[in-house]
């Protein structure tokens, strides 16, 4: 135990060779240099441990005792450190390698998107990129899979379901696209009929015989453009094409509260990173205890992996997002405007693309228990023509019967 001290200071194991090596012991004692574990190897040689001293002093002692020294071992911390210094390159290389392996183990190696067409795939990749998820990104900064799902599904409207799952270093995104049944394209002989009851405004007929005029009231299913052209004697069937703009009416009603309580994000956020080992947590970044008065807290746990193993270390990311509560009192005019706007938007969603709302009339407006109740009707100009196939055989028979 006593020699443990010398381990930290460093000592030599050496052979003292000379005619009378005991002199060296005496001189060492006089000079107060520690020596221990002395053994006689042979007539002229002593083996001993010597505490590390200044090499000049040692040389003087040897000269005085007329002895030579042969160093057998160099022990202790100073020698160890020197050895380490020599191997610094190897050590640094090894550390660097481990670090690289650690980083690579926590990297996203592939992002696979299944069930989306190329355009949607590209769109998804862009959104994921905004959320720090791409091939080669660090998994530690990627949000939770449920958060990713949220981000994707709020931005993608054409998708019925989206699932994000992670397996090792691979992220897999499963997409189910909304598939509308393709409208049956009628390409043979066909009529154009009215989709709904309306007043015809304008006709743009490319092919076929128009049967209605402007300002004419038509019922749903009524033939607008006939696919049969020519006189009764010599006729032929064509695939009629064109647009019939009709004026249609819609009724809608809605109600909204006059006072609204909003909670919205101010845009300020505060991130805190913590490293967790079992029950101990060490803050790495962000030391404020409560950054905001009102906030939403999102916590993401990221276990740190090493190759195929999961280390007990967990990176915690806590995101505080400042929120603000606001109460908005609407005036009647504002509320009305809001309601009409939303009603029109809702209506246009159901109508063909080139439909136009001409005007919205308010039929009824009342305020009941803080709620604005509104009933309106809209006048719309839209294409009411839909193709309908002509049963040629039936039509021919009918024509044959007629003259008889």
């Amino acid at each position: 135990m006593r020699h443990l001290l010398y381990r930290t200071e460093g000592y030599l194991r050496a052979e003292i060779i000379g005619a009378e090596p005991e002199r060296f012991i005496r001189i060492a004692l006089r000079e107060q240099i520690r020596i221990w574990n002395i053994m006689r190897t042979n007539e002229t040689t002593l083996t001993c441990s010597i505490a590390l001293t200044d090499s000049n002093a040692l040389r003087m002692m040897l000269k005085e005792s007329k002895c030579r020294i042969r160093i057998l071992e160099k022990n202790g911390l100073p020698f160890y450190l020197r050895k380490l210094k020599l191997r610094l390159g190897i050590t640094a290389g090894l550390l660097f390698f481990m670090l690289l392996l650690l980083i690579l183990s926590n990297m996203v190696w592939s992002v696979r998107i299944d069930g989306a067409d190329p355009k949607l795939t590209d769109q998804i990749r862009n959104i994921l990129r905004q959320n720090h998820l791409y091939e080669g990104s660090l998994d530690l900064f990627v949000p939770d899979t449920s958060q990713l799902e949220n981000a994707l599904s709020t931005k993608l409207t054409k998708v019925t379901w989206i699932g994000v799952s992670r397996k090792g270093t691979t992220y897999r995104i499963n997409v189910v696209e909304k598939k509308y049944p393709n409208p049956k394209e009628v390409s043979g002989p066909r009529n154009l009929v009215a989709a709904k009851q309306a007043v015809v405004q304008r006709l743009y007929v490319e092919n076929g015989q128009p049967l209605v005029e402007s300002d004419q009231f038509v019922k749903a299913g009524q033939v607008l453009v006939s696919g049969k052209i020519g006189s009764d004697e010599s006729f032929k069937f064509v695939s009629s094409r064109g647009k019939v703009i009709g004026e249609t009416w819609y009724r809608s009603e809605a109600q909204i509260p006059m006072t609204n309580h909003y909670t919205f994000y101010t845009g300020k956020d505060y991130n805190r990173y913590q490293l967790k080992l079992w029950n101990m947590t060490v803050s790495l970044w962000g030391f404020k205890k409560q950054p905001f008065k009102a906030y939403d807290l999102e916590t993401v746990r990221k276990p740190i992996r090493f190759l195929i193993w999961r280390t007990p270390f967990v990176l915690l990311k806590q995101q505080y997002r400042q929120t603000k509560q606001v109460t908005r009192q609407l005036t009647v005019a504002q509320a009305t405007r809001d309601v009409i706007e939303s009603l029109e938007k809702k209506l246009l969603d159901h109508l063909p693309e080139d439909a136009k709302i001409l005007n919205t009339d308010i039929d009824d407006k009342k305020i009941v228990r803080g709620q604005l109740y509104l009933r309106t009707h809209q006048v719309v100009h839209e294409n009411i023509a839909v193709p309908k196939a002509i049963n040629v055989e039936k039509e021919k028979k009918k024509m044959k019967k007629k003259p008889q």
Partner: protein, 93 residues
């Protein structure tokens, strides 16, 4: 004169209960079994080998014989010897 003072010291040591080795500057030997011998109050190492250790004392020499001797510790006032001790002998001329 010297003999007289030595006698006085010896007498004082007996009377005052102070250990004699401290008073008289004579060696104190502690032998543990046969394998470890510590000697206090020696003067210097005269010779050392595997089988023999000769120490100079204030008066005379101390010869220790045995085998497999290792000097475990050497300090100015104390020396610890390890090995098999077979004989301790004082040489006074």
């Amino acid at each position: 004169m010297r003999k007289w003072s030595a006698h006085l010291k010896k007498w004082f040591a007996e009377v005052s209960d102070i250990p004699e080795d401290v008073m008289l500057g004579v060696p104190r030997l502690t032998l543990i079994g046969q394998f470890r011998l510590s000697i206090e109050n020696y003067q210097s190492v005269l010779s050392f080998s595997k089988t023999e250790l000769k120490l100079a004392l204030n008066e005379g020499e101390l010869h220790i014989t045995g085998n497999d001797f290792v000097l475990e510790t050497i300090l100015e006032k104390e020396i610890v010897l390890q090995g098999r001790v077979t004989g301790v002998r004082f040489e006074n001329e």
